[in-house]
Symmetry: C2
Amino acid sequence: MEIQVLRRLEEKNKADADQIRALLNQHNVKCFNIMGSPGCGKTALLEHVLPPLQQRYRCAVLEGDLYTTQDAERIAGMGTTVIQLETQGSCHLDANLVMRGMQELNLDQLDIVFIENVGNLVCPANFDLGEHHRITVVSVTEGHDKPSKYPALFTKADIVLITKTDLLEHTNFDIHRAKESIRKFNDHAEIVETSIRSAPPAALVAFVLSIVD
Amino acid sequence: MEIQVLRRLEEKNKADADQIRALLNQHNVKCFNIMGSPGCGKTALLEHVLPPLQQRYRCAVLEGDLYTTQDAERIAGMGTTVIQLETQGSCHLDANLVMRGMQELNLDQLDIVFIENVGNLVCPANFDLGEHHRITVVSVTEGHDKPSKYPALFTKADIVLITKTDLLEHTNFDIHRAKESIRKFNDHAEIVETSIRSAPPAALVAFVLSIVD
């Protein structure tokens, strides 16, 4: 009986997600869902890719968080339109909450919407949010075993960013093994090493532009 | 209707957890539930606290993981009895699965059971596993905003370990702010800074001994 309820919720989420995608397509807006552990660098990546993207495209961010508006404030501080999606303790965004966020945006005046999911390597993978592409982030300080231990988030990613590579020499993270693990579940995603401390994440900007241009 | 189902599950989990605690008390076994993000250092902490504890006490580990036995193999490699609890993709352990693990252990021959939860800062907080004490782990590479963003895991902790302090100088982690945030939700937990790269986690060993001795 519990399984039946889960199935109903999943079907409802899928229907909501398809509705979001249709709405976005109608307005010619591309949507990216950014997922990864707490502290892997999702907000920092946004802070670095928004300025170059905003030179040519109109961007907005839906900022998922359990309770606080800390990340939303960081994005709003850059002059980007941001809607806070507060999950009230739930560990992932769902399409219903994202749809309410989309309805607050003026989609006619936008080209790109980023969704920053709740920091979590597990549950967000199971919830289609109506995005066009999935960006998965994993930092070297988390360990190279994380893709094999939490495969779902890597399976459907279109690009995987391995972040904080400036800390590589202080960890035992093996980039080669991490990439091999990711390739076992995903043969198409671009896998990019990045450190926003040493350089802006050019590969992520290029990836977004390759979709939007 | 969905809320009713959730309530039923929570009540069932609580009943299972109480049953586990009764079973442990009957055998005079103390149980610790270790929680934190993927890669925060839960398994590494266990690898460092087990040898000194095992000099005086008989320990076992219930190792929660989505699919793989990587962490369980690390612990078993130390000669510690370890039972793998595979959640099959679920993002937290529940008391039902933990009870099945406890039944595999010979509790008459044990003093301490550690439960290493699935790497996740969110969901494990809501599931009582029948433990006596909760150990929450957060690494400096995750950022000092994590306690305020994910309060539930810190609220009920009996000890909070701030790990990877050897990387402090390479991050903008503010120990003072992190501790202040934790104190807002929790006025009793011991808060400990630790780096297993520079020293064994003596405070965690002392904490466990203060309960068991």
